[in-house]
Amino acid sequence: MSAEVVLSVDHVVKTFRVHQQRANSLKQLIAARGRNVFDEFLAVDDVTFDVHEGEVFGVIGQNGSGKSTLLKCMAGILRPNKGSVRVHRRMGVLLELGAGFHPDLTGRENVFLNAAILGMGRKEISQRFDAIVDFSGLHKFIDQPVKTYSSGMYVRLAFAVAINVDPQLLIVDEILAVGDVSFQRRCMEKFVEFRNDGRTIVLVTHDMGSVKNLCDRALWLERGRAVDQGDPGGLVDAYTERMLGGSQRSEDGPSRRGSGELQVTRIEMMVGDDQAPVSRLRTGDALRLRLHYRSDTSVPQPVFGVEIATLGGVAITAPCSRDVGMVPSSLSGEGFVDVSFPCVDLLPGTYDLHTSVTDFNRAHVYDHLQGAMRFDVMTGRPYETGGIVSFRPEWTVS
């Protein structure tokens, strides 16, 4: 890329001291004979990258991978032990909104103070003051002390200040996750506006969707080291793949209840015409679920059901075999039941699968597997930014 480098992170190393017995008082220090016992913890290990003008750069990684430490080094809050961070543009950092607010001062006074903390001059703040208040929509409350504000108002004002500092380089940490829906939308609009203005954004996030959607390039951190950087699409897929590993069970494992005359012993997931079982799929794939069952006695008119739910427990779909009249007069021994979904338009995320076997009236439960399987949906076609499921929209403008 030929565009100018606006942020360069050069072999940055940051370690923390993890104190076994932290001498926080002189007494403890004297008792330890002036020595503090500590281990060095390597939070960021030799990370190098450049961010170019007009680029949206994503940083992804698990909790504890060093993302936040790296961000604080970029922001100048922490000083790296080795290496350097060079910033060539006016930088704005959205790390925590309203960090410098003082509850006893009014909204107006806090706007001035907060903007000054972010490095603005007095004249500049006066010029932008109206824009800030407009964006926050808090005209009526601007002369009230901020301790009377609701948390929503607080965040709105803080964001209004932060965004109006007018940075050429914006560093954002998980900010899209705060506030209500309309506030998040407003943030999003502002970011898109920023990007379209040709400004540079560094986004540190867990949200793979926004990385794929917004970023031009991404960096993947793991245990403080840069695993890879480059095209966000490939990176996010590789990252998701790695993070999931073989784990496909829900965290507590499945829990079984029911009288047990007929049990689901195994579940297989297959995509398309492929016979090989998989543990994840892409939006829009054709999915086949195979429920293997076993029964020691003959069970009359069993009804099989599956339920796909979000991790929050919201059932997205919960069909059972009786819905289509496919109820055998009786089953015994071993076998399997297939249920096919021609296209699963679940949007990227993690979902739970529950299964059940009941009698015809769905009153008596033979077997119920809560959290029988946990699976991931990765980005496919169609792609949408929000929601759980796609209804395959078609857009026309006239």
Partner: protein, 265 residues
Amino acid sequence: MSLRSAMAHRNLLYLLSLKELRTRYKKSVLGWLWSLLNPVSQMLIFTVIFTYVFKQTPEPGNPSGLRNFPLYFLAGLLPWNFFAITTSVAMGNVQSGAGLIRKVAFPHEHLVFSVLIAQFVTLLIETAILVVALMIAGQNAFVWLPVLLVVYLLWALFTAGFALALAAANVFFHDVQYLWSIVSQVLFYATPVIYFPQIIQLTALRRFSTYGPTGAFVGVFHQLMYDGRAPTWAQWAYLFGLAVVAFAVGAALFSRLSPRFAEEL
């Protein structure tokens, strides 16, 4: 601590100082008056104690001929309070600024300097009242104001050195603030604020009280306001040296430690 980032954030310093001044008496009925009532009440207490309990007769001012213990006392107490309050509030300010320090990059020394400036403004207002009182008592302290202001600035530099060093050390060891409240009390009695240094019998103690760092400054404040006498060149040199050394040591310590504030707080 760099001059460039400090300059870039000078607006922040201004607003933080304003905040210090504004929030202090925000909820009180008398508000600003408290900052005046405090030294006045202290003055009344000590005057009663030293005129009626310990029966001290004030030395006459030389050459002013003034014989007034409360005025002698105030001339030293006001700058002393500036020193004591600034150092202790600065420590608290850096500690309570933890939320800010961990989330935003800004020159940390402004948390100290804002206290210094706010307290200096308070000192100037209190001094104005002292000068009026002195004029009423017949001592023309007004003519000494320009000289006093220069000594005040040196005193502020000296105070800044202590405040920076203590605030930085306190981040790493919270004992520092408790230790300092004791040390500053000892210093208060070792400094001729509530007495005339000549009355001390023990030579070593008298010498420290007169020529020790804080004593030397307070002595000059008395000399200017109570006696009406200019400092000698030797005194100027001594005060200047004290101020520069204290500030240099404090600033060096602070800039060495402040990059680690964000992880230690």
